[in-house]
């Protein structure tokens, strides 16, 4: 599956170039801007809706990042117009409990492989949201990588149904545990 996806999106990107579209393509409605020079391809990006959430000031952005190149590249940061504070988070085990914390060194996207940003794992944390995010809204994200490149992605806001509520229960500190803040 991984291999075929890389092939598919490489082909799509090629088709885009030869066919005269300005930007390489990403899948699933995420739209990179024409200025994004990053070799990284974003697939299936989405942001969790905050409507109905106990804490509507923060949420997670998820996606799959593909590195079709020859060198490892790290996702080192992100920004968005909908939130002034954005961090790359990882989940770590602290005293037997999974807690999330900022991935200060960024996260590697393996050569020829995927980095999955997904619930319960690495994700982009959007904090101090200016307004609630409803299903169907579009969130513009700028991703920054270790090679200095940037990628702009338009991520749709989708309902989130998973029981565990990691992305609303913590406060924006570099190291946080859901148990310390409640929800």
């Amino acid at each position: 599956m991984k291999k075929s996806l890389v092939t598919l999106f490489t082909l799509l990107a090629l088709a885009g170039c030869t066919g005269g579209i300005a930007a390489p393509m990403t899948s699933a409605g995420s739209t990179p801007s024409a200025s994004a020079a990053s070799p990284i391809i974003a697939e299936a990006a989405w942001v969790r809706a905050t409507t109905g959430a106990t804490n509507a000031s923060m949420t997670g952005a998820f996606m799959s990042l593909v590195n079709p190149g020859e060198t490892e590249i790290r996702l080192v940061g992100a920004s968005t117009s909908v939130a002034p504070m954005v961090q790359i988070h990882e989940m770590v085990s602290v005293d037997g409990a999974m807690v999330m914390q900022e991935a200060t060194g960024g996260v590697a996207i393996p050569v020829g492989g995927h980095l999955h940003l997904k619930p319960g794992s690495y994700h982009v944390m959007l904090m101090m949201l200016k307004a609630p995010l409803a299903v169907g809204d579009q969130v513009p994200l700028t991703l920054r990588f270790s090679d200095g490149s940037q990628l702009e992605v338009n991520a749709p806001v989708k309902a989130f149904v998973e029981e565990e509520d990691h992305y609303h229960s913590a406060s924006p500190s570099p190291s946080m545990s859901p148990s310390s803040t409640g929800s």
């Binding site: 092939t7 885009g16 990403t26 409605g29 995420s30 299903v135 169907g136």
Partner: protein, 409 residues
């Protein structure tokens, strides 16, 4: 009733590609990129597997699932918008679905997929989206209504039920197997839930391949070869695809009719009469005036007693373009069986989910349907119990979304 004619799918696809320049009003520059880029992409059909194990792309001039072969399983989901007067709610739904469809048809998990391992490529999955009449009552959209896109008035023979009729937004999900259809339908339903509720769900099956897996005309539950006289190639282009308004170039209109077939009465009918009802043989599908499935009907031929060989009320005569001012449609049929439990026990029923695609509903479908309603030997065995119409927008570019031109001209 199917687009799965015996010609290889590759031919149809080339014909479709060739038509891009012919479509008036299309922003060719903006679409050539994704459209032209398809030639070498994984979406190109593989000839030996023209019906099954196909990969379709939503990024063609036309949506898939219309002129592409009918796979084994199809489900139609019709939704009513929760706030039918707010265009922004519909556009949010269409944007979400476009991303979903792009991923689903590529065999990749959709954004936020809670069952990502279900995704699989090469299962002939297509999702075709349509817009119901109320959409064009939204502020500012009346002038962009496709010409001839009207509702079908109730016919004298109709026995319509609300539960199989109407709808604001339609998704047709088709694939080689029911598991794929269930998975894709569920993803689309979930993302629609914020904006719309289900009006009805119906579907059926089609067998468009022979025992060797080669494409053939499928049979409906009367046992008839159904779809023989469907247009193909350049005829199909002219019959099906609309050229405007600009946002709709490459789109089409769809009539969905749920037609119940009285199989018990059909079983009790002699084979000779069954063949006379259509005017074609049951085994080969050949006209009663010919010997091969694709032979033209000879509507003037008489038997020894001087009676027409193809009866005056035969369905194939009554539906024939020569007696309908040349009007044609593209039919796509789905066989359904439906079983309900009642206080008197289990009640089985069966029929055809009849899909008709045409560029101009009012000028192609309506006169034909009206004429058939007046006289058609099939009426003794059939009753239409559901009806709905949808405008089917053209395909969309990668990262773009369905029918955007309708809302952002």
């Amino acid at each position: 009733m199917t687009g799965a004619t015996a010609e290889p799918a590759g031919l149809g696809r080339r014909a479709v590609l060739g038509s891009s320049a012919a479509v008036g009003g299309l922003a060719v520059g903006s679409t050539l990129g994704w459209f032209g880029g398809q030639a070498g992409s994984p979406a190109a059909p593989v000839t030996p597997e023209a019906v099954i194990r196909q990969r379709y792309s939503p990024h063609e001039l036309h949506q898939a699932g219309i002129s592409t072969p009918t796979p084994a399983v199809t489900r139609l989901l019709s939704f009513r918008l929760r706030t039918p007067r707010v265009a922004a709610e519909l556009t949010k739904l269409l944007r979400l679905w476009s991303g979903d469809i792009e991923a689903l048809m590529a065999g990749a998990p959709i954004p936020g997929d809670t069952a990502p391992d279900m995704a699989q490529a090469g299962v002939s999955l297509s999702v075709t989206v349509g817009l119901g009449p109320r959409v064009f009552e939204l502020p500012g959209l009346a002038s962009r209504r496709p010409s001839g896109y009207v509702e079908v008035p109730a016919m004298a023979h109709d026995r319509l039920q609300d539960r199989w009729s109407g709808g604001d937004v339609l998704a047709i999900v088709a694939a080689d197997d029911p598991t794929t259809v269930a998975y894709a339908s569920r993803r689309l339903e979930r993302d629609a839930a914020t904006f719309a509720t289900l009006a009805w769900v119906q579907g059926g099956s089609w067998r468009g391949t022979d025992s060797a897996g080669q494409p053939v005309t499928g049979r409906n539950l009367f046992g008839q070869l159904d779809g023989t006289a469907n247009p193909s190639g350049a005829d199909l282009e002219a019959v099906v695809w609309a050229s405007g308004p600009a946002w709709f170039a490459g789109g089409t209109t769809l009539v969905v009719r749920r037609i119940e077939l009285d199989l018990d009465f059909w079983d009790a009918t002699t084979r000779e009469r069954q063949e006379k009802v259509i005017g074609r043989r049951l085994d080969s599908g050949a006209p009663l005036t010919g010997s091969h499935e694709r032979d033209d009907l000879d509507l003037t031929a008489l038997d020894a007693a001087g009676r027409p060989l193809i009866a005056l009320d035969a369905h194939a005569r009554r539906a024939h373009p020569s007696v309908n001012g040349g009007r044609r449609i593209l039919r796509r049929g789905l066989n359904y069986t439906h079983t309900e439990g009642g206080h008197r026990g289990v009640v089985p029923s069966a029929g055809l989910v009849f899909l008709s695609f045409q560029a101009d509903l009012a000028n192609q479908y309506l006169p034909l349907q009206t004429s058939l309603d007046q006289r058609d030997a099939l009426h003794d065995w059939t009753a239409t119990i559901g009806s709905a119409v949808f405008a089917i927008p053209p395909g969309f570019g990668p990262g773009d979304w369905l029918a955007r031109g309708l809302f952002e001209p």
